[in-house]
Each structure stands twice: as structure tokens, then as C-alpha cells.
């Protein structure tokens, strides 16, 4: 086949280098959402919380073999290292190479599975077909039973996307940029509606599959781990308010499992790209992830967090603290009586500790010492709660005072070239915050904080 000809002479090591380098900006790469037992005949299973196999020196979780099938691309997205106008070394894996790497890495327990994306070779349908064939081989010839996540290529034939969906655990279509306008300036070959169409198709596919599964328990699963997407933050001028509204509607209207945010890393010089003298907007990305958690697990609506007149998140306070100090009329909350929903809104109380409070207070009234044992971060929570009618210290329920106290602590998040740490995050008290979720949640609490 002619597409295989490029880079035939290249060593596997070189290809892996190029095609990993080219894939690394993709962030939607957790391995969660599917629980699948081994079948006793071939290699692989899936654990619903996902598993982190390593962490790279940027602190990101390595869970899947994240590679491009090819970094050849006919498009010219301005933010992308692989755009056709860039002069970079190009490589393309053969399907066998992808399969062998996946299998050999997997049996050594380096990875949880495969994440496969690709630049556009020839056209979207041709590219999707290559991805499909690779995964087909991996599943049917190599009998790989582990986790597979692929990108659906916008504009590809729907039938191919459908067939691929039956082979993989997760599919994602990249939104790329938060708004259609951003897309027009930076990704002239892409169109919002081409992106939303496969998203809708996958959503429908998942729905139909649920019905099939009700009728026939052994019907093949379609994208069992659900659908995800990602958008680049800070390459285009959208506000945080716009971004979380987009995320909210993706969760509500497209039933996505996850929306990922990727702080823009400037890899190309282009007059349409912002300068970003401070490096990638990591704090902003961080705040968006926090807000995303509030949307998904804490019962917040986007409109409660920000509005037209306050379109950006507070730099000093996390979004939940920010909400709390602006709604002091709702506090203090009595720990021994408050509803679960209200407990979740207290800074320093996370999903797990709220549940633990509900369980523990059935056995007797809780004191501040008990809350500490339960894992509530008291130094954040103390301004907002009472135990049996008493506050921990006499404090003022006054915005300025609380803000000052919440922000003067030494252990606030430090952002610097090597200082950015999620460790001291207050919002998600028992470790429920790290980009790739669930299993990683638990990992964080292992290092004993939050």
C-alpha cells in the first residue's frame, strides 16, 4: 500500500519518537469508564476507575500508549505542530507496528491500552479507515482485550465511525476551540458542524446500544466508556464564562463523559496566535478543571459560577471558595443537620467527606475534631460551618476578612516553572481532583492531602 511507503526505512524507535511527540498535546487520555473482566483466553481487562501506569516529568499521568498513527496532515490548523505548512519530520506507523507496541507494552504492564489519533492523510474517510483497520487488527488478530480510545475524525464517513465504535471503549471528537469563531480563525479547514455531527452520531450510537443491551445481553458494546472531547484554552479570546457554558451544554446536550481543557502551548509562530509571554495559561486551565468538577459532581450550574459581568475566574480563590464568599447569606452551615447538597457547597468539604459526614453523624453529633478525622480541610471550612451551633473560632462572616484569611496561607498553589502543584488544592478535600479522574483521585489521597 502506498501510504505505508513513507518512513518504511525508519526505525521503530524513530517513529515512536515522532508520533509520540506529535500526540502529546492531546489531553483526553484517561483509561476510565469501563469495567471489563478478562476473558481467560486473551490478554487484557479494564478497570472502571482507570489506572495510571507512570507519570512523566510534567506530572501528567501516563495511562495509554498515546500516539498518532501518522503525523502527515493535509490541514493547516495554526496551533498545531503537525500542520502541513510546518517542516517537521513525518512518520506513519503500520497497523502491525501499532499492534505489536501495544501488546508488548501491555504485557509488561507499562500501559492500560492504546490511544490512537492521527493527522489527516489524504482525506478524513481514508484516515478513519486506517484507524479502523488498525483497531480491528488489534482486537481480532492480536485479541487485545484492554482499553482502546480513538479519535473520530470529523468529516469521515459515518458508517466507518459506527463500525469503529463497536471496537473501542472510548471515542472522542476534538472540539479544538471553544467557539465556531475561534475555529474559523485558527483551523480554517475545520467546521463546527463537522465536529458536532460525529459527536451527535456517537451519542445516538451509545443510546441505541443501551437498548440493544437490554434486549440482548451479549450484544457488542458501542463506545462503552463514553465520549469525551477537549478544547484548547487561551489560543482564542473566549472568556471563562463562555468556556464553562460550552462545557455545560456538552454535558447536557451531548452527554459527554468528560470535557478536557488544554492550556495552549505555542509551538508555531503565527500572527493569529497570542504571544503568551508567561507560558501556557496553566492556572486558567486549572480553574476550569475545578469548575468542571463543580458542574459534574457538586450540583453547580455554570451561571452560578460566573456571569457576563464577571466572566473570569478569581486568580486567588478556587471557584467554590469564590462562590461561597459571594453567598455568605447561605452560611454558616450546621454540619450535623445540613443537607448533602449544602455540605457539598462548603469549601474544604468534598464529595467523599460530605458522604462520610452524612454516615458518621447518624452515629452521634460530630465535633470539629471528628471533622478533621473525616478529612474535612478545616482551615478552609471553618469560616462556613458550625458544629452543634458553635463555630470553631470566633470569626467574622465578612467577605474581605475571609478572603484575606483564605489567601494568605503559605500553602496556596504556587505557579512557577516547577512550582505548580495541585497538592495544596483545597476544593477537593480528599484527593478527588486530578485531571485524569477516579483512580487518580485515590492516588492523590495516598500522598496524604486535600
Amino acid at each position: 500500500m502506498e501510504w505505508l511507503a513513507t518512513g518504511m526505512e525508519m526505525s521503530l524507535m524513530d517513529k515512536l519518537g515522532i508520533l509520540t511527540d506529535a500526540a502529546k498535546y492531546d489531553v483526553a487520555c484517561t483509561s476510565s469508564g469501563v469495567e471489563r473482566k478478562g476473558n481467560g483466553r486473551s490478554i487484557g481487562n479494564c478497570v472502571s476507575g482507570g489506572i495510571c501506569h507512570s507519570f512523566s516529568s510534567d506530572g501528567r499521568c501516563i495511562s495509554l500508549l498515546k500516539i498518532l498513527l501518522s503525523n502527515e496532515c493535509i490541514y493547516d490548523c495554526k496551533y498545531c505542530i503537525n500542520r502541513c505548512s510546518n517542516d517537521v519530520p513525518r512518520a506513519t506507523f503500520t497497523p502491525e507496528e501499532v499492534c505489536t507496541l501495544t501488546m508488548e507494552f501491555y504485557r509488561r504492564n507499562y500501559i492500560e491500552g492504546l490511544f490512537l489519533s492521527s493527522g489527516i492523510i489524504q482525506n478524513p474517510t481514508f484516515t478513519m479507515e486506517l484507524i479502523y483497520r488498525t483497531i480491528w487488527l488489534l482486537r481480532n488478530k492480536y485479541h487485545f482485550n484492554g482499553y482502546v480510545h480513538v479519535k473520530a475524525i470529523p468529516g469521515a464517513d459515518g458508517e466507518l465511525i459506527q463500525r469503529t465504535g463497536y471496537l473501542v471503549d472510548r471515542m472522542s471528537v476534538n472540539l479544538e476551540l471553544p467557539t465556531a469563531e475561534g475555529l474559523r480563525t485558527l483551523a480554517p479547514n475545520k467546521h463546527r458542524k463537522n465536529i458536532l455531527a460525529p459527536m451527535r452520531q456517537i451519542q445516538n450510537g451509545i443510546h441505541e446500544n443501551k437498548n440493544e443491551l437490554v434486549l440482548y445481553r451479549n450484544a457488542p458494546r458501542f463506545v462503552g466508556g463514553g465520549q469525551a472531547t477537549q478544547m484548547i484554552i487561551g489560543a482564542t479570546p473566549e472568556t471563562d464564562y463562555q468556556i464553562i457554558n460550552v462545557a455545560e451544554s456538552l454535558y447536557q446536550k451531548f452527554e459527554l463523559k468528560r470535557v478536557f481543557y488544554s492550556a495552549f502551548v505555542k509551538v508555531n509562530e503565527d500572527k493569529n496566535l497570542p504571544a503568551l509571554p508567561g507560558g501556557p495559561p496553566l492556572l486558567r486551565e486549572h480553574r476550569l478543571y475545578q469548575a468542571d468538577w463543580l458542574l459534574r459532581f457538586y450540583g453547580f450550574a455554570a451561571s452560578e459560577l460566573l456571569d457576563e459581568s464577571r466572566p473570569y475566574f478569581n486568580v486567588m480563590l478556587d471557584p467554590k471558595e469564590d462562590w461561597a464568599v459571594r453567598h455568605l447569606e447561605k452560611f454558616p452551615v450546621e454540619i450535623n443537620r445540613a443537607s448533602y447538597e449544602m455540605l457539598l457547597r462548603v469549601p474544604g468539604v468534598g464529595v467523599k467527606s460530605a458522604r462520610r459526614i452524612i454516615a458518621a453523624r447518624r452515629c452521634g453529633n460530630l465535633t470539629f475534631a471528628d471533622l478533621k478525622k473525616i478529612g474535612v480541610v478545616l482551615k478552609r471550612a471553618l469560616y462556613f460551618i458550625t458544629c452543634s451551633g458553635r463555630m470553631m473560632y470566633p470569626t467574622k462572616l465578612e467577605e474581605d476578612y475571609i478572603v484575606r484569611n483564605l489567601t494568605t496561607e503559605k500553602d496556596r498553589i504556587q505557579f512557577g516553572s516547577d512550582g505548580m502543584t495541585y497538592k495544596q488544592m483545597s476544593l477537593f478535600d480528599d484527593g478527588s481532583f486530578q485531571r485524569p479522574v477516579t483512580m487518580q483521585e485515590k492516588l492523590l489521597s495516598a500522598v496524604g492531602q486535600m
Binding site: K24, S63, F105
Partner: protein, 253 residues
């Protein structure tokens, strides 16, 4: 006070719990101990580990409190904390003394024993989750996959089912070098544990296969290439992947 002295194993501690019930002990004045601690005015009762008795206790625990809480008790019992046996005893005795629905044994986190069991179980669970990801196998010349681990808690017996389910068609072996314990899984068969004293491994049998170093190099290369330099953050990496695991991981060699 009565002090039941048992061996430091799940069976030993569950047997001790059985004996306290057989002897109609007052739980407020009874202690289960896994070491030779001495108390004034205490009566010492040695416990002979008895698998049947242990099983009876296990079945009662599962029936009354459910599989999930049983698993949490086991996680607590494989930790290194010397107080674990006493904390589990207190927690179980308290649960049995009153109405306690399955899954709610560890609700009362304000109680010190319950809280200790809860924290120990969580620590073990965290290490178990870490090792599901961080364990590294190398292919030996014989084709066997071999991994070495050095966990703080005795998690090998929990790791084995995970890998047996994942690699049913592989011959593999995990060596806990801290306890000199081997988990062995012959392809297509059930796994089992062996004490190091009973395992004979010639130096040469641990030689890696011809392709092994190539894959280690490939993965190492991959781990370097996946980094976004602009986001470099060694501190975050260290908090997510504590240094003590790295000596066992191919990509850090």
C-alpha cells in the same frame, strides 16, 4: 484485661477474634495483640491459628457487613501498623453488638478504632492501586514475565487476582522482596503464593529475553517524548509517583 496473642496474619487475627467470642470476653477489657507487648495485670492467652475458626469469622463478617467492608478489614489487616489487630477487633465487635447494615461498618469515623481501620484500609488500598499501575514485568528467556515489588503493606495476595485476570494466558511471577514472597501464575491455571525459602531460582533463570531490553528502551523513550517541556513539574511528578516505586520501574532505570 485479657490479651490474646496471635500471629500476624489474616487467619491468625480472625482466629483470635473467634476465641474471644468462644470465651465470652468483655470487649472493653480484651485485647488482640500481634507482638509481645506487656501489660501489668494482664492475662496472656496464646492463640493457635485455626483456618476453620478463621473461616467462620470471615463468613460472619461477610454476612453481616458485606463483601466490601470485609475487603476493607482485610486491607487494614495487611498493613504494618501494630495496632491493626486491636482496631479491627474493636470495630468488628462493635458492629456485631448492634444493628449494622452491610457497607456501614466503618461509618462511625469519630470512633478511634473505626477511624484507624478506615485509615489503614485506605493506605493499603492506595498502595494496591499504585501497584496495579506501577508494577513492571520483564520477559525472561523462558518467556515468563517477572516482576519485583517492595510494598509497605502486604498487598501481593490482592495484586495477584488482578494480574491473573488481566494476563490469563501468560506465565508470570511477582516477587515481593520485602517479605520474600512469590505470587506465581501458570498460564491458564490458578495462581498461588510461595515463601521465598521454597522457591529455587538459579541466577541464570532470571536472565531477560532477547527482545526485553528493546521494549524497555522503547518505553523509556516514549516516557521522555510524551513530556510537554513548557509544563515541566517535577514536584507534581514526585507527589503522584513517589520515589520509592521508581527503583522497580523500567522507565526510571
Amino acid at each position: 484485661m485479657r490479651v490474646y496473642q496471635c500471629e500476624d496474619s489474616l487467619e491468625g487475627i480472625f482466629t483470635a477474634i473467634y476465641n474471644t467470642y468462644e470465651d465470652n470476653c468483655d470487649r472493653m477489657d480484651t485485647r488482640i495483640s500481634i507482638n509481645d507487648e506487656l501489660f501489668l495485670f494482664a492475662e496472656y492467652i496464646p492463640v493457635e491459628t485455626d483456618v476453620d475458626k478463621a473461616l467462620k469469622v470471615i463468613n460472619t463478617i461477610k454476612r453481616r457487613f458485606g463483601e466490601e467492608d470485609y475487603k476493607r478489614l482485610c486491607f487494614a489487616l495487611v498493613s504494618r501498623e501494630p495496632e491493626k489487630a486491636q482496631a479491627v477487633y474493636r470495630t468488628v465487635a462493635k458492629g456485631l453488638s448492634k444493628e449494622c447494615r452491610p457497607g456501614h461498618l466503618l461509618d462511625d469515623l469519630a470512633d478511634d478504632s473505626v477511624n484507624l481501620v478506615f485509615s489503614l484500609a485506605r493506605a493499603t488500598n492506595n498502595e494496591y492501586l499504585h501497584l496495579m499501575g506501577f508494577t513492571r514485568f520483564a520477559e525472561l528467556q523462558s518467556g515468563i514475565l517477572y516482576a519485583k515489588i517492595g510494598p509497605k503493606n502486604d498487598v501481593l495476595a490482592f495484586l495477584m487476582p488482578h494480574f491473573a485476570d488481566r494476563f490469563p494466558i501468560e506465565n508470570f511471577m511477582i516477587h515481593d522482596e520485602k517479605r520474600n514472597l512469590y505470587g506465581v501464575h501458570p498460564a491458564g491455571k490458578d495462581w498461588y503464593l510461595m515463601r521465598g525459602e521454597d522457591v529455587e531460582l538459579a541466577e541464570s533463570s532470571l536472565r531477560v529475553s532477547d527482545g526485553e531490553m528493546e521494549y524497555q528502551e522503547l518505553f523509556k523513550y516514549f516516557c521522555g517524548k510524551i513530556v510537554i517541556e513548557e509544563r515541566r513539574n517535577l514536584e507534581l511528578q514526585r507527589s503522584m509517583l513517589p520515589l520509592r516505586f521508581r527503583e522497580y520501574m523500567a522507565e526510571f532505570k
